[in-house]
């Protein structure tokens, strides 16, 4: 599916008028994947997750196909669908995060944009460094028991 992918992270900050500029690399990927360059931003794992429009559409369709008979599924949809907002950059490549997004992601002023292949994420800087400073030995071990040996 994918040609261009979101990769790498860029530290950013929110300007006095509340605007956040996306790195040009990400903007390029966005226009490559959906020609208008629009994307959806939703909430998960304490950060904001951005999907180019076409990817979001199929994701949403999957969500709507899920049977809503269990409370857990309904709550999951509340988080993901309820967190979804459409975004388009202005002429300078900036967006404005909503109050509830800032809130959910605990975003103060310093931000990291993190490429994740077909999507990217927006993190509060402090939260992100907590995530990345974890010890992953447990996982590596678990994987190696399933015969997966990562070249780390």
């Amino acid at each position: 599916m994918p040609g261009k992918l979101f990769r790498g992270s860029s530290p950013r900050s929110i300007d006095p008028k509340g605007r956040l500029m996306l790195p040009p690399e990400f903007r390029d990927v966005l226009v490559a994947r959906s020609d208008a360059g629009g994307f959806m931003l939703t909430t998960y794992d304490g950060c904001l997750v951005a999907y180019p429009q076409p990817d979001w559409d199929s994701f949403e369709e999957q969500l709507n196909r899920l049977k809503s008979s269990s409370r857990l599924v309904r709550d999951f949809k509340r988080l993901v669908l309820g967190g979804a907002e459409e975004h388009v950059c202005d002429n300078q490549g900036r967006i404005r995060l909503s109050k509830s997004h800032l809130d959910y992601a605990g975003i103060g002023k310093d931000i990291v944009l993190v490429g994740q292949g077909s999507k990217f994420e927006i993190w509060d800087q402090t939260r992100f460094s907590e995530v990345t400073s974890q010890n992953f030995d447990g996982l590596a071990e678990e994987l190696s028991e399933s015969g997966i040996d990562l070249p780390i």
Copy 2:
């Protein structure tokens, strides 16, 4: 099925006269789905659930088709049918929640309106953050066992 969907959440509050303003995006979806913009609001999962008139009508029809032979079905109808109230926004896009709705949803002053595709929900802020701060890893795993791999 339809084009415009309810998405995203907006934090709101009830004004001194007891009025709650719907976000413009939601109002747009309402008029798109039912041209008068009227909707039904009922009670479930500890929140208020809003259905555009046409969606409600077919929902209600399904409910009425249910055999009322079990107590559980009757109680369910008591909750859902008994909790249903019709609403129309005023010129500024505001509605007034009834005492029993405020009560059922445990609504104090701070509220979140949550888009859920073809419907939206009204939550007390505190209750809603409990919902969204859950850990959904169990669900993700369960889904992936049924062959559904969400792009989260």
